[in-house]
């Protein structure tokens, strides 16, 4: 469908359905039935099979009309993409709808104190007892776990096979006695991630996804989506400024809670958008050395965007494998963020020592400088992306491995 046709259809549909006096969830259910909640999803599951560009047109019309979109903040996208790709019809029926309506929020329970990059070395234990999975162990760095309803959980179900083969993937109900999330303070002062303790937590058998022992495969689906998200995300439609009407109050309350862990995320990407305005404002735009670094940043940023558009097109045509394309994009995002942080420092000069509301751009620049280090760690470190690119894209040989054979015999952290 052409952008103009999409515009017309969405507008006509909003004319007939959008009202500011409906309760939020009721509105989202209407949105879902209308097929405009997640147009990039498949037709049989609330969507229209739209491309990301087409979906962006829909979001644009929603923004113009100040219409509240489907819930989108947080790792719910990781959950929905994983469930769409690997879940049973029953799981899709139970989980997808409340993801879109905003009734359920999610978190990702992958990393552990003993295994981060080496995700497949995880040692959280899940055992089948009396027809239910019983989970014991600890996760860490889990963003927004402190207010999540469900978690994407990987746990070990078999200790006697090689490490990748003994993992299963579960959809864990976080609202139960055996699950406790404790917020952790980050170097930028925010508390977005948590440690999560599971003590005899229970998962019903129907919430195992992708089959027992197949968790690594499902986890890779989640990770590939996550990495692609670093270079290109489905842009959510946010509504600017406070709007009058009952539905906006509910929506803003939802955003206040759900978006709270993510307010600094744009800063970890380097705030490239603030570079030229700040350089003009401070006069740094006239400094030859700063101009050189700004130009390098613009080349990186523009080139990476063009390259990722190209990769996206080839991915659709089925010629590039998903994970490496995501890895290249994620590494590019790191390089861009670091260069942006260098440039912001040059532009601010001594002012870069200050933080808080009195400092540059209301403290945003200070937050950039102390948030950028996260982008090369979260979602798989730069080093891991380079391993993936060199082995999977370039076909360079794997190095020596010390982690073969049954998992229980492998050396690991105490």
């Amino acid at each position: 469908m052409t952008p103009d046709r999409i515009r017309q259809e969405v507008s006509a549909w909003l004319d007939a359905n959008w009202r500011i006096d409906r309760p939020l969830i009721e509105w989202r259910e209407i949105l879902l039935e209308g097929g405009w909640a997640a147009p990039h999803w498949p037709e049989e599951w609330y969507g229209r099979g739209f491309t990301l560009d087409q979906t962006a047109v829909v979001a644009e019309v929603f923004r113009e009309r100040d219409a509240v979109p489907a819930a989108q903040v947080g790792p719910r996208g990781l959950a929905s993409e994983t469930i769409l790709a690997c879940g049973s019809d029953d799981q899709k029926r139970r989980f997808l709808r409340p993801i879109l309506t905003g009734e359920h929020t999610w978190c990702q329970l992958f990393s552990e104190p003993g295994s981060g990059s080496d995700l497949a070395g995880l040692s959280t234990r899940a055992e089948m007892k009396n027809g239910k999975w019983i989970v014991n162990g600890q996760k860490v760095w889990n963003t927004s776990a402190h207010h999540a309803d469900f978690g994407l959980l990987v746990a070990r179900t078999d200790w006697d096979v090689p490490k990748h083969q003994g993992i299963s993937y579960f959809l864990l109900d976080m609202r139960q006695a055996g699950v406790e999330a404790r917020p952790l303070r980050q170097m930028n002062g925010h508390q977005s991630f948590n440690e999560v303790f599971m003590t005899n937590a229970v998962v019903p058998p129907e919430d195992l996804i992708g089959g027992e022992g197949n968790g690594w495969h499902v986890a890779k689906t989640t990770l590939s989506f996550e990495r692609r998200g670093f270079s290109r995300r489905v842009r959510g439609s946010s509504i600017d400024g406070p709007k009058q009407g009952p539905i906006y109050e509910e929506y803003e309350e939802e955003l206040r809670i759900a978006a709270e862990p993510y307010t600094w995320y744009p800063q970890r990407e380097g705030r490239v958008d603030l570079v030229l305005p700040r350089a003009r404002e401070t006069g740094a735009i006239n400094d030859p050395a700063t101009r050189q670094e700004i130009a390098k940043l613009i080349c990186l940023y523009t080139g990476a965007r063009l390259a990722s558009d190209g990769a996206e097109a080839r991915r659709k045509a089925g010629t590039t494998e998903i994970i490496p394309a995501g890895s290249i994009g994620k590494l590019a995002a790191s390089v861009i963020a670091r260069q942006a942080s260098v440039v912001h420092t040059m532009i601010s000069g001594a002012d870069a020592m200050l933080s808080g509301p009195d400092s540059a751009a209301d403290g945003i620049i200070a937050e950039v400088l102390v948030s950028v280090p996260a982008i090369s760690i979260a979602g798989g470190t730069d080093e891991i992306q380079r391993n993936i690119i060199s082995e999977r894209v370039l076909g360079m040989p794997k190095g020596f491995r010390a982690d073969q054979g049954p998992f229980r015999d492998i050396k690991r952290n105490a």
């Binding site: 101009r291 080349c299 523009t302 390259a307 190209g310 391993n387 690119i389 370039l394 360079m396 040989p397």
Partner: protein, 366 residues
């Protein structure tokens, strides 16, 4: 604006790539770079006379194939990949572009067909190869077209039948046509770092020339942009060749009982290089699409030239380093690409000059 290559463009690439692999193997490059002339007339005839590679960007009415910067870029990329030795860049890209952008209609009619079918070898003579702002500082023309001054470097002037010279005169800069054997013309071949691209010093002492068009500042910048976009393509072809051969070398060479490509220091260097090349290639292809559509960033060609030059040098440095001692020998081919990379990095503006040019286009002068 186009975002992917069309079927026809991919086909063009296949044809050109096959022809060049056949006609410009490293053995031929080595032979030709050791000669004064620097090219093989029989191969020139086949590639330009028969296959039309010098006219891909020339309109059909002037004897070309009617393509644009994208098609020119495709040929340039394949030429750069094989390090083709010959006056294609000087004649098709530099002189062809100058004629297309600056010559009067009647002069285009007269001069372009020969350039397009390779029967005329032409070049563009500029008295500044760093920055368009410096062009016209040395060579001057009288009202009747007599030229005086020096171009300290000109590409492939030693084999040119036709020299197109940008000179200052009474008003705006002018484009002048000079015959290869004109009286008062002294063409002195220079020793060069990259022997696959020949340079000469060209001195004009009262040389009879013909004024064939005006070169305003805008026109000169358009010419510069088109040449830089094509040069960026040529560089990306070379960078990709070096990158591919280097990665495969790391899979074959064994040290410490394992392929060196299994050492993480090398893997990570290659991964970073891939990223740098992908970004530069995307900017390069984009620059040609911007030129053809008239849309996009005005600084697209400078972005491409700066990024491609840096990526090519990164690939060239890694190409030597990851081969160890053999990489530093004359016998190994890697240095041929290294030298082309170095030469191209500074031809028509270093990356720093292009970054400053970019910023001036975006934000005005510092």
């Amino acid at each position: 604006m186009q975002t992917e290559f069309s079927k026809e463009q991919n086909l063009l690439r296949d044809v050109v790539s096959r022809a060049l692999r056949d006609k410009s193997p490293a053995t031929a490059v080595r032979e030709l770079m050791a000669t004064d002339r620097g090219y093989d007339p029989a191969v020139w005839q086949e590639l330009c006379g028969d296959a039309g590679l010098a006219g891909v960007h020339v309109p059909e009415v002037h004897g070309g194939a009617g393509g644009g910067a994208v098609e020119l870029g495709i040929v340039a990329e394949e030429m750069g990949r094989t390090l083709f030795c010959g006056p294609w860049f000087a004649s098709a890209v530099m002189a062809g572009t100058a004629l297309l952008e600056a010559a009067n209609e009647s002069d285009r009619e007269e001069l372009l067909p020969g350039v397009a079918d390779g029967s005329t070898i032409a070049t563009l003579v500029l008295d500044d190869l760093d920055d368009p702002a410096g062009v016209g500082g040395s060579i001057t023309a009288t009202a009747n077209g007599t030229l005086t001054g020096v171009a300290s470097m000109a590409v492939d002037a030693h084999v040119a039948d036709l020299l197109l010279v940008v000179a200052s005169g009474t008003g705006v800069l002018g484009l002048h046509a000079v015959e290869g054997g004109a009286s008062g013309l002294a063409i002195e071949p220079l020793q060069v770092v990259d022997p696959t691209r020949k340079l000469s010093r060209v001195a004009f002492t009262g040389v009879p020339g013909r004024h064939i068009g005006e070169v305003t500042g805008d026109t000169l910048n358009r010419i510069w942009d088109r040449i830089c976009s094509a040069l960026a393509h040529e560089m990306m072809g070379g960078a990709q060749h070096l990158f591919e051969t280097t990665v495969s070398y790391t899979k074959e060479r064994f040290q410490f009982g394992r392929p060196i490509g299994s050492f993480q220091a090398l893997k990570h260097r290659c991964a970073d290089l891939l990223l740098e090349i992908e970004i530069a290639r995307a900017l390069t292809h984009h620059s040609a699409r911007c030129l053809d559509s008239g849309e996009g960033e005005p600084c697209a060609a400078s972005m491409a030239k700066a990024a491609a030059a840096d990526a090519y040098m990164s690939a060239a440095r890694a190409g030597i380093q990851l081969r160890g001692g053999i990489g530093f020998t004359w016998e190994n081919d890697t240095h041929l690409w290294f030298k082309r990379s170095k030469g191209s990095e500074v031809l028509f503006g270093t990356p720093a000059i292009h970054r400053e040019r970019m910023m001036t286009m975006l934000e005005g002068a510092a």
